[in-house]
Symmetry: C2
Subunit: 325 residues, 2 copies
C-alpha cells in the first residue's frame, strides 16, 4: 500500500501539502493540487484510516452491540443503522452479546480500544459501570433510559394495543405469553397487556417463557395448549412464538381465527408469510435503526437541540389470525 510519503514524492511536494489536498484544508495552489491529485490516482492511493484515527483520536467506526443477529427482529435494526451510518461515511463494528455480561463488556471494551466515535447498544444493562464511564456518545436502541439517549418503540402501548384488540374482537379466555424476564422490551409489552387485561372483566392466564428462540418456540406452543387447552385468544411474546403457536393450533385442528385468535409482536418479515398471515403489533425496526444512527451522528456532530430520546409508534397490523370484528 502506498503511503502519503509516496504520493508526496511522486508529486514532488511535501506530505503536508498532500494532507491538505486530502482533507481540503488550508491553502493549496491550483496546479499543486492537480499534481497531487494525479499522483494519488497514479498510485491508487487511499489514506490509512488507522494512522488518521491515531492522530485524531477518533475513527470513522461505530460500534453496534446486538443481543443476537440471528433473531429476525435484529437484522432489520442492524440494516437501518448501517444504511444511515454509511451515508455519512461511518462503518460498523458488530457484536452479539447473547445477553451475556462478559461478552457485552468485552465488546464495549474493544469498541473503545478501536477508537469508535460512538456506540449503539441494545443492552438490558445500562446500569453497568462501563456505560457510565464511557467517554463517547452512546445511543440505546430498542431500550429505554433516562440517562442516555435512546430510540425505542412504545412497548407498554404495544402490549395494551394487543390486549385491547383481542378483547374487542371477542376473546374470552385469553392467554398472555410472557417473554424472558430479563429482556426489557419483553417486560414492557407484558406489563402493557396486563394493564389492559386487568381493566376489563375477561379471564386470562399467563404462560411464562424464558426465551425467544426458534428452537424453543415450538416447545412453548405445546406447553401452552397443554396448560390452557381452552384458550380462545393468545397474546404472544413475539412473532416467532406467535407463529409457533399458530401452527401448533392448526395441528390440533383449531379453526383460526374463529376458535382461536392470535396476535404476535414485532411484525418481522416472515409474519406476512405465515399461514394464516399473522396479526401483530408492528415495531418499525428498520426505521428505529435509522433513527438511532441519525441520533448518534447528530450527537457526534454536536448539533443543537436534538431530541435525546425518540419513541417510535407501534401499530396494529390486522391480518388473518384475528377476527374481522
Amino acid at each position: 500500500m502506498p503511503t502519503i510519503k509516496d504520493v508526496a514524492r511522486e508529486a514532488g511536494v511535501s506530505v503536508a501539502t498532500v494532507s491538505r489536498v486530502l482533507n481540503d484544508t488550508g491553502y493549496v495552489g491550483t496546479d499543486t493540487r492537480k499534481k497531487v491529485m494525479k499522483a494519488i490516482a497514479q498510485l491508487n492511493y487511499s489514506p490509512n484510516e488507522v494512522a488518521r484515527s491515531l492522530y485524531k483520536r477518533e475513527s470513522r467506526l461505530i460500534g453496534l452491540l446486538l443481543p443476537d443477529i440471528t433473531n429476525p427482529f435484529f437484522p432489520q435494526l442492524a440494516r437501518g443503522v448501517e444504511d444511515e451510518l454509511s451515508r455519512s461515511g461511518f462503518r460498523l463494528l458488530l457484536g452479539n452479546s447473547d445477553e451475556n455480561t462478559e461478552k457485552e463488556l468485552d465488546y464495549i471494551q474493544t469498541f473503545v480500544q478501536n477508537n469508535v466515535v460512538g456506540i449503539i447498544s441494545a443492552t438490558n444493562h445500562v446500569d453497568y459501570q462501563i456505560y457510565n464511564e464511557l467517554k463517547l456518545p452512546l445511543v440505546l436502541l430498542d431500550r429505554t433510559s433516562k440517562e442516555f439517549p435512546a430510540v425505542y418503540a412504545d412497548g407498554r402501548e404495544g402490549g395494551r394495543l394487543a390486549a385491547r384488540t383481542l378483547i374487542d374482537k371477542g376473546a374470552e379466555r385469553i392467554t398472555l405469553v410472557k417473554g424472558p424476564a430479563h429482556v426489557k422490551p419483553a417486560q414492557d409489552r407484558y406489563i402493557g397487556a396486563l394493564e389492559e387485561l386487568s381493566r376489563t372483566d375477561v379471564d386470562f392466564s399467563v404462560l411464562s417463557t424464558t426465551s425467544y428462540s426458534f428452537e424453543e418456540a415450538k416447545g412453548w406452543a405445546e406447553e401452552l395448549f397443554e396448560k390452557f387447552p381452552n384458550t380462545d385468544g393468545v397474546i404472544a411474546s413475539n412473532d416467532i412464538v406467535g407463529i409457533a403457536i399458530l401452527h401448533e393450533a392448526l395441528k390440533l385442528g383449531k379453526r383460526i381465527p374463529e376458535e382461536l385468535q392470535i396476535i404476535g409482536y414485532d411484525d418481522i418479515p416472515q409474519s406476512s408469510l405465515s399461514y394464516p398471515t399473522l396479526s401483530t403489533i408492528r415495531q418499525p425496526a428498520y426505521e428505529m435503526g435509522r433513527e438511532a444512527a441519525q441520533l448518534l451522528i447528530n450527537i457526534i456532530r454536536k448539533e443543537k437541540g436534538i431530541e435525546q430520546t425518540v419513541q417510535m409508534p407501534v401499530e396494529l397490523i390486522e391480518r388473518n389470525t384475528t377476527r374481522k370484528d
Copy 2:
C-alpha cells in the same frame, strides 16, 4: 483514556517495560511485572488497538461482506463467523453489499484502510480487480472459486437432490423456480435440478424470478399458480419463496402434500415453523460461517497443509410438504 505512558509513570518504569508485560515478550522481573500489573489495574488501562495496529500494520479486525443481512440465510452465516472469530480475539467489520458493485468496492476499500487482517466475502464478483490486488487473505463464503480459498455448500448436488426427491415421490408436473441469474448459488442449484430433471421423463416448467426477498416472494407465488395451475411439485429457489408458494397453495385450497409437493432450499430456521413444515435442502449456514472463519484464521497464521477450499454437504430435510413415499 490512560496511555502506556501513564502506566509507566504510575509503575515507575519505562514504557518499554510496560509493553513487555503487556505482550508477554522479553524479560521482565517478577516484582517489576507485579508493579506494572498493579498500575494497569489501578488506571483501568487497556491498550489502544489503533496505535498497535498502526505500528504492526495489522489489526485484530476482519472484514465480512454479505449481500444482505436481512435475508434470513445470512444472519446464520454471520453468527458462525463471529463466534469462531471471537474465540481467537478477532472482531468483525460488517458490510452489506446489496449485490451492488459500488458498495462492494467501497467496503473492501475501507476494510483495507482499517488494516483488517483478512476478509470474508460472499461476493458474486471475485473477478473484480480489487480482489486480485488484495494483499491480504481472502476467503469466499457461500461462493466457489478456483483462485481463492472458499467455503461453500454443494449447490449442484443440492439442486439434484431436490429434483430427485420430488421425482421419486411421484411428482409428474414439476415447476422449477429459478432464482436471480446473477446470484451464483441460485444458479448452481438451478443447474443441478435441471440436470436431474433432464435425466428422466417428467414434464417440467421453469419460472424465472429475479429476487429472493420477502416482499416479492408472494408475487412469485401468485405468478406461479397463474402460469402453472396444474403443477404438482415445486422446487423453490429458496425457503422464503418456498414458504410463500406453500401458503399461496393453501389459500387456493390445494392439499399438501397430496396434490402438491414443495421443496425449499437453505433450511432457514423459520422453515420448521411453516405450516405444514417445509421439506427442504439444508445448507449448514452456521457451520459454513465457522469453517470460513477457521480457514481464514489458519491462513493468517500461515498454518501448513490447510484445505484451501471446503465444500460442505447439503442434506435433504424431509418434513411435511413432501410425501412420505
